[in-house]
Structure formats: structure tokens, C-alpha cells
């Protein structure tokens, strides 16, 4: 059996020792406690006796060389007939074990003797690890601030939630979105524990989840408000805190502009037939309690065109494009407090009556503040209709995580020159499309708008 001879620690603070002289050569027999070498440290020069009897089988550290405390400097091969060995069975494994421990525990300081040096080493090593962190990814840049190419600093603010409020949210299954309906009584509108308690007492009575501003949009990931230079204020100027919903809209819009490569195309369509269809059938729908507006009329050809160009009904996630099976149409609805976008789910499954009903229901629910969380989720394509205000064209912002938004302008009677050079008065509309150039090229968008135009012009002609 081989027994390691280690550099002993000669003094609490001594970290290393120099071998002055070997008294034995490799192969020499060694008696227990016989001097085998001399060591010099910064505290003492001394002779080191052998821990066991045997033959010096290896010298690992030559004379004049300095090594750390705990380093194995030589090995003694104990002999089978060595009486000391049979007499002291406990000593051997221990000697071996201690050396083993020193080796194994290297990053960890070993108790007592070795600690001085081991500690020093550990510190320098851990320092090394930190600075050699190049192999590790650099610490993530906090999302709180990022610099725009234009040099505008965007601060992503988060409402502070105290630990106890967070805990209550967890216990009662309230997500940050739901939290938006709770008004905060703490400093700067912070929601306090007491606010939570008040809310929870009402919530249990009415478990239906109310709509919170942040779920106005599907992917409000991050809140982006433009951090502007201080603005000069004049005496009559009025300063008002943004409402939560206003903040959410702002954040969402900025987020979308930062996310998508917005691009617009404009076509013009002849909707004389469509308008005539509406005039003809309006009363019929009214009899069933449904007001036939132009919105559902636009939706029928729109969905047919989307079916032809599935990329219009897609989402981008990382480097993947998700093509949605269902067409869930988001309808931008203007309300006093701000924009809201309820969704007609699986709109492709509905006929005109169904669509008209759906539009009507959502619009009235929105106005009555009765939209549910579900009403606002899952849109795959958005239609915004500023035409009712007389808008002719627009460049709408895409509703993330969608890739396109369609915006018909006001339907106007215009004089058009027809193919046979005759003039005619027709119902005309400009069709605006914002699309995400990351996934939709101009040619595709153009082809889509062309198809949509054709469908709008033809879909209603048979009905006349």
C-alpha cells in the first residue's frame, strides 16, 4: 500500500514549504518516524519524520522546490510484513483518507491546517472564474432601459407590487392583467394589501373576471413609454396622469412599432354593389334585430382573401411563422377611455347574418363595459374602420402578435372613368393595408389587396 507524504502546515498562516534536502533516495528503506526530508518555511526549518515504515517509492518534489501545504511530496510503499501496519490498522486508512480529502476538497477549504493556503487559492480561483466569465453569457441587459437607434431612451416601467400583494395574487390566482382593475390607494397609485383585500371581498361575490386594460391587446409584452425631455409647461397647461388603459395603449403601440416592419399599400375598390346590397337588405336584417353596417360586408370578402393568402393570418414567434387555422377578426372599437379590440372568434364559420350579429354584440358590449377577457383574446387579423369619420386612407399600427391590419376608408361617391371611357358615379373606397414586411413582401401584400378588391367588387353583384 502506498502512503502519501504531504507537505505539512508548520504554523497557522504558513501556506507553502520548500524541500531543503532529501535524506532518503527512491528505493531506500524508511523506518517509522525516521527523518526523510528537511523542509524550510517562512517560519521554521525542520526535519520531517516518516509517518509509516516502508520503502520510499516516489519522490515527487525535488530539493529546492517550493510547494503548497498539503501537496504530496513523496510516497512510501509499506511492506506487508511491516509490523507497524498490522498493529495500527486505523492509522493507515486515515492517513490515506486525509490526503484524499485534501485532494478532493480543493475548492473547499479543508478544516484546520490546510485552510490558510486553500482559502487563498479558492479566492483567486473564484475571482478567475468571474473574470473568465467570457465563456458564460454576459449578464442580460436589463430590459428596463434600451436605446433606440434614434437615441431615444425607452423606459419600461413596471408598477411596483409589494411582496404581500404578489403573494395574494398567487394565492387568489390574480394575474397582473386582472390587477389593472384594482385601483391603488398607496403612494403613486400603488396597490396595497388593503386594496387587495377590498377587491377580493368583492371578487368572491362576482367571480367573473372583469376586463383589465392590459388585456386589451394580446401581447403586451413590456410596457414602453417614451421618455421625453422635460416639456416646458405654461401656466394654464393641465397635467394629468395617464389612465391605465391609456398607458397600455401607448405601450402596446410603441411595442408594435418596435416589433414589426410596418409597410403600407393602398388600393381603391368599387363597392357600389356592396352598398346597394346593404340598402336592399337592411330592413330584412333590422327585422331580426340586427343593424347591417358596412363592417360585416367588408368581412366576407376579406376572409375569402385571407384564405387565399394564409400568411395574412399569421403570427411571428422568434424565427417561426405561425399560420393560424381559424380567422379571428379583431375589430378596433373607439371608446371614450380609449381603443379596444374585441375579437370575433372563428369568423370564417359565420355567414353575413352571424357576422353582423357578432359585430353588433361586441360593439354594444364594449360600449357597456361588459367585454370579458375572452372577448379580447386570440385575434389573428384586425380590421379597423376609420371610414365612419370620413377618413380616406390610414396607416394603422399592427395589433401584435398579428402581421397585418386592414383599414377601409370612407365610402364616397366618386366620378370614375370606365373602360369604355364613359363617366360614372360609383361608390368607391380606399383600402389601406399595414403589413409586417418581416414575413409579408410587398408583392404578396399587393396580390392580397388586389384579390380583396376583386372580391369586394364581385361578391355582392349576384345579389342585386
Amino acid at each position: 500500500m502506498k502512503v502519501d507524504i504531504v507537505m505539512p502546515q508548520l504554523g497557522e498562516s504558513v501556506a507553502e514549504g520548500t524541500i531543503l534536502k532529501w535524506h532518503k533516495k527512491v528505493g531506500d528503506p524508511v523506518a517509522k518516524d525516521e527523518v526523510i526530508y528537511e523542509v524550510s518555511t517562512d517560519k521554521i526549518d525542520t526535519e520531517i519524520p516518516a509517518p509509516v515504515a516502508g520503502v520510499l517509492s516516489e519522490i515527487l518534489v525535488p530539493e529546492e522546490k517550493t510547494v503548497d501545504v498539503g501537496t504530496v511530496v513523496a510516497r512510501i510503499e509499506t511492506q506487508a510484513q511491516d509490523a507497524a501496519q498490522s498493529k495500527t490498522p486505523a492509522a493507515k486508512p486515515l492517513a490515506g483518507k486525509q490526503v484524499e480529502e485534501v485532494k478532493k476538497s480543493e475548492p473547499k477549504p479543508h478544516m484546520g491546517g490546510e485552510s490558510g493556503k486553500q482559502e487563498t487559492r479558492m479566492i483567486s480561483r473564484s475571482r478567475g472564474a468571474t473574470s473568465a466569465g467570457s465563456s458564460r453569457p454576459p449578464p442580460p441587459i436589463t430590459p428596463s432601459r434600451s436605446t433606440q437607434p434614434g437615441g431615444v431612451v425607452i423606459r419600461r416601467e413596471k408598477t411596483f407590487l409589494s411582496p404581500v400583494v404578489r403573494k395574494m395574487m398567487r394565492l387568489h390566482n390574480i394575474d397582473e392583467q386582472e390587477l389593472e382593475v384594482i385601483s391603488g390607494s398607496g403612494a403613486q397609485g400603488r396597490i396595497t394589501k388593503r386594496d387587495m383585500e377590498g377587491y377580493l371581498s368583492g371578487r368572491s361575490a362576482a367571480p367573473r373576471r372583469a376586463v383589465a386594460p392590459s388585456i386589451l391587446f394580446d401581447r403586451p409584452s413590456g410596457k414602453a413609454l417614451v421618455d421625453t425631455q422635460p416639456i416646458a409647461k405654461f401656466s394654464r397647461d393641465r397635467v394629468e396622469k395617464m389612465s391605465n388603459i391609456r398607458k397600455k395603449i401607448a405601450e402596446h403601440m410603441i411595442f408594435s412599432r418596435q416589433t414589426s416592419a410596418h409597410c403600407q399599400l393602398y388600393h381603391e375598390a368599387d363597392v357600389t354593389d356592396m352598398m346597394r346590397y346593404r340598402d336592399l337588405h337592411e330592413a330584412e336584417y333590422a327585422a331580426q334585430g340586427v343593424k347591417l353596417t358596412v363592417t360585416p360586408l367588408f368581412l366576407i370578402p376579406l376572409m375569402q382573401a385571407i384564405r387565399e393568402f394564409p400568411v395574412m393570418n399569421a403570427s411571428v414567434q422568434g424565427d417561426e411563422i405561425i399560420y393560424h387555422e381559424n380567422i379571428n377578426i379583431g375589430l378596433a372599437v373607439a371608446m371614450d377611455k380609449g381603443l379596444i379590440v374585441p375579437v370575433i372568434k372563428q369568423a370564417e364559420a359565420l355567414n353575413l347574418l352571424g357576422l353582423a350579429k357578432a359585430v353588433q354584440t361586441l360593439a354594444s358590449r364594449a360600449r357597456e363595459n361588459k367585454l370579458t377577457v375572452d372577448d379580447l383574446k386570440g385575434g389573428t387579423f384586425t380590421l379597423t374602420n376609420p371610414g365612419m369619420y370620413g377618413t380616406l386612407m390610414s396607416a394603422p399600427i399592427i395589433n401584435q402578435p398579428q402581421v397585418a391590419i386592414f383599414s377601409p376608408g370612407a365610402v364616397q361617391k366618386r366620378v370614375v372613368v370606365r373602360g369604355d371611357n364613359s363617366l360614372a358615379i360609383r361608390d368607391r373606397v380606399y383600402l389601406s393595408l399595414s403589413f409586417d414586411h418581416r414575413v409579408i413582401d410587398g408583392a404578396v401584400a399587393g396580390a392580397f389587396l388586389k384579390s380583396l378588391t376583386q372580391k369586394l367588387e364581385r361578391s355582392f353583384s349576384f345579389e342585386a
Binding site: 505539512p8 508548520l10 504554523g11 497557522e12 525542520t46 486515515l94 492517513a95 486525509q98
Partner: protein, 348 residues
């Protein structure tokens, strides 16, 4: 035997009933403990250099006569409040080489269950408080034990030790002042071994002898040769019995030489070679052997037999200690506070 200094005493003169001389059998025992003391320490130093003992390793070579003979002068009911170089006294009191090696090796079989290190062996049953590294700190404590003995009407005496270094700490003064004011059954041995770590006495204090301070506390004292076990025993026994009889504290300054470094890491090159050579001639163990032979107390053969017996005991205890268990890491948090039982007081 003892050269007494002129010391002012509040007590009346005290005459011992008898001269305190070691009998032949006692001399043999004192030799046994002196040899055991040195051999245990030599073995510890070897274990240290083999890397088995970690931390500090201390030797009392040159101090064996003081360490053993002072403790030998105590009765079982007396208290022993030692210094770091007092394994001799520990062994006399009943600690074993196994206790000492267990302590050095950090085994649970040590008197401190491996919580404290090397020479800090405490033992309630043997009436030994486990010292701390600030040696003078235990002087007031020793006085407190003496005070408790007095309050309980016990005739126990407390022997306490301080070195030529520790004697310069404030607690030395405060404790001796208390011992003097309260006339405590307290005997202080000042082990003057010429160096405090590397600093010689000339840089430690300006009085001629530390015992010169005794009158300032109203305490009597003596300065004696610390290499002669017979002298040490006689003087100490006298002082202890005097204190036991209610005549107050006493100070004995023993003159020795620390024949090794402060600890095993210290090569003590700062000591002049000639000084070491001179003191080598006064080695207390050699002196004892000479006396045993010339007084025909022990033959060379008997001495060798004793030495062999000691070697065997040490080897057996070293092996036992090496095989003893290391503490469980969880023990680290145990024992910070005492329970409310009445156990583990000196007076129980």
C-alpha cells in the same frame, strides 16, 4: 530552599507543620509524569510534522518540573487553572494521553468534543477550566473560583499559572488586586521561561523580576529554580497549604527556559545559541534522572522500564485517538447555550 522576597503581608506569619519533601515513591511518580509529559509532546510534534495534527502544536520542554510538580502538590479538591505549557499538570490531574491526542486530532473523544483546539483542555470533573488563548483572561476567573470556595466554606485552593508575557496584560493586575483585597486561597505560578514568543523579558517589563510586583498587591511571593522538581514541589505545597489554612494568596516565580519555539512552526532563531546551550545543562528531566540515580531512588533499568511503559501507553493512545470518530458537522451548532439542569458545575 526557596529564596523569598521581602513582601508585605496582611496575614500573620505562617509556619508549616512539616517540610514538604517528596517521598521516594512520590519522586518516582513525579518522574513518570515528567517523562510522560515530554514523550506525549514529542509524539504530538511528530504527528504535527506528518500533517496529522492541524493548527498549532505546543511544547513545554524545559518546563516539565514546574508543570508536574506544582500540580502534584494539589489535592483532588483543589482547582487547576493552567497555561498552554501545562500538559504535565493535566496528566497529573488525570487527563490521559488519549485525551490530549484526541484534542489535538480534533476527535469527539477530546474533553472539548473537538470544539476547542490543542492545549485548551477543560475538564469539569478534574476541576480544570478549559483555558482560552488570552492567557491572563483566566486569572480573574481563577480568583472567582477561589472566592466561591471561600463563600461555600470549602478548603479548596486554586492554583493558577501565568507566563512572563501574560503577566503584562491588564487582567493580571486586576486579578492579583482582587486576590490581595479578598485574601483568596489562590496560588499563582509565574512561569518565567525567558521569552514571550520571540520577545525577551527586557522588552516585556522593566522591573527586575515579576515577583517584585507582589508587594504592590499585598501578596507574598518567592522566586525559585523551575528546573528542579523537588524545589518546585516543596515551595508550591507550602504555598498551597498556607492558602488552605486561610493565610491568603501567594505568588511563586519559577525560572525555566522554553527549549523550543513558541509553537512547532517557530524555529526560535532569535534565542542566542549560548543561552540554549547553558539551559540544556539544566534540563529538568535529566536533572530528575540524575537525582533519582544518585539518591538511589530508581536504577537505570527501572528508569528504562518506566520509559518503555510510557512509550507503549502513548502509542496505544495515539492509535486509539486516530481511530476515534471525527465530529459530525451538525454538532457545530450544538452546545452554544447551557441547559437548566444542575449538572456540570464544579461544586457538584
Amino acid at each position: 530552599m526557596a529564596k523569598k522576597t521581602a513582601a508585605k503581608s496582611k496575614s500573620t506569619a505562617w509556619s508549616p507543620k512539616a517540610e514538604y519533601l517528596l517521598t521516594k515513591e512520590q519522586a518516582k511518580e513525579v518522574y513518570y509524569y515528567m517523562r510522560l509529559n515530554r514523550s506525549v509532546e514529542e509524539r504530538a510534534a511528530a504527528l504535527y510534522r506528518q500533517g496529522k495534527i492541524v493548527g498549532g502544536c505546543y511544547s513545554s520542554t524545559g518546563n516539565e518540573a514546574v508543570s508536574v510538580a506544582t500540580a502534584y502538590a494539589l489535592e483532588k479538591r483543589d482547582f487547576f487553572v493552567p497555561l498552554l505549557r501545562n500538559f504535565g499538570g493535566h496528566l497529573v490531574r488525570g487527563q490521559t494521553p488519549f485525551h490530549i491526542f484526541s484534542q489535538y486530532l480534533g476527535r469527539t473523544t477530546s474533553p472539548t468534543r473537538a470544539k476547542d483546539c490543542n492545549v485548551h483542555l477543560g475538564n469539569i470533573k478534574l476541576k480544570i477550566p478549559g483555558i482560552i488563548s488570552h492567557l491572563s483572561a483566566y486569572m480573574p476567573l481563577a480568583c472567582g473560583i477561589a472566592l466561591a470556595c471561600k463563600k461555600r466554606g470549602l478548603d479548596s485552593v486554586v492554583i493558577n499559572y501565568i507566563g512572563n508575557g501574560g503577566a503584562n496584560v491588564g487582567e493580571f493586575h486586576e486579578a492579583l488586586n482582587l486576590a490581595g483585597v479578598w485574601r483568596l486561597p489562590f496560588v499563582l505560578i509565574i512561569e518565567n521561561n525567558q521569552y514571550a514568543y520571540s520577545t525577551p523579558n527586557t522588552a516585556q517589563y522593566a522591573c527586575q523580576d515579576l515577583i517584585d510586583r507582589a508587594p504592590g498587591y499585598g501578596i507574598e511571593g518567592a522566586k525559585i529554580d523551575g528546573t528542579d522538581a523537588f524545589t518546585v514541589y516543596g515551595t508550591t505545597k507550602w504555598a498551597i497549604e498556607r492558602a488552605r489554612a486561610g493565610h491568603g494568596p501567594y505568588i511563586i516565580q519559577t525560572e525555566t527556559m522554553r527549549m523550543r519555539g513558541h509553537a512547532e512552526h517557530d524555529g526560535f532563531e532569535y534565542v542566542p545559541k549560548s543561552m540554549i546551550e547553558a539551559w540544556k545543562k539544566k534540563d529538568p528531566l535529566n536533572k530528575m534522572v540524575q537525582t533519582l540515580k544518585t539518591e538511589k531512588i530508581m536504577t537505570e533499568k527501572e528508569i528504562q522500564a518506566t520509559d518503555q511503559k510510557i512509550q507503549d501507553l502513548i502509542e496505544r493512545d495515539v492509535e486509539k485517538a486516530l481511530a476515534a470518530p471525527l465530529p459530525d458537522p451538525e454538532e457545530v451548532t450544538q452546545g452554544v447555550f447551557a441547559d437548566q439542569t444542575t449538572e456540570n458545575f464544579f461544586f457538584n
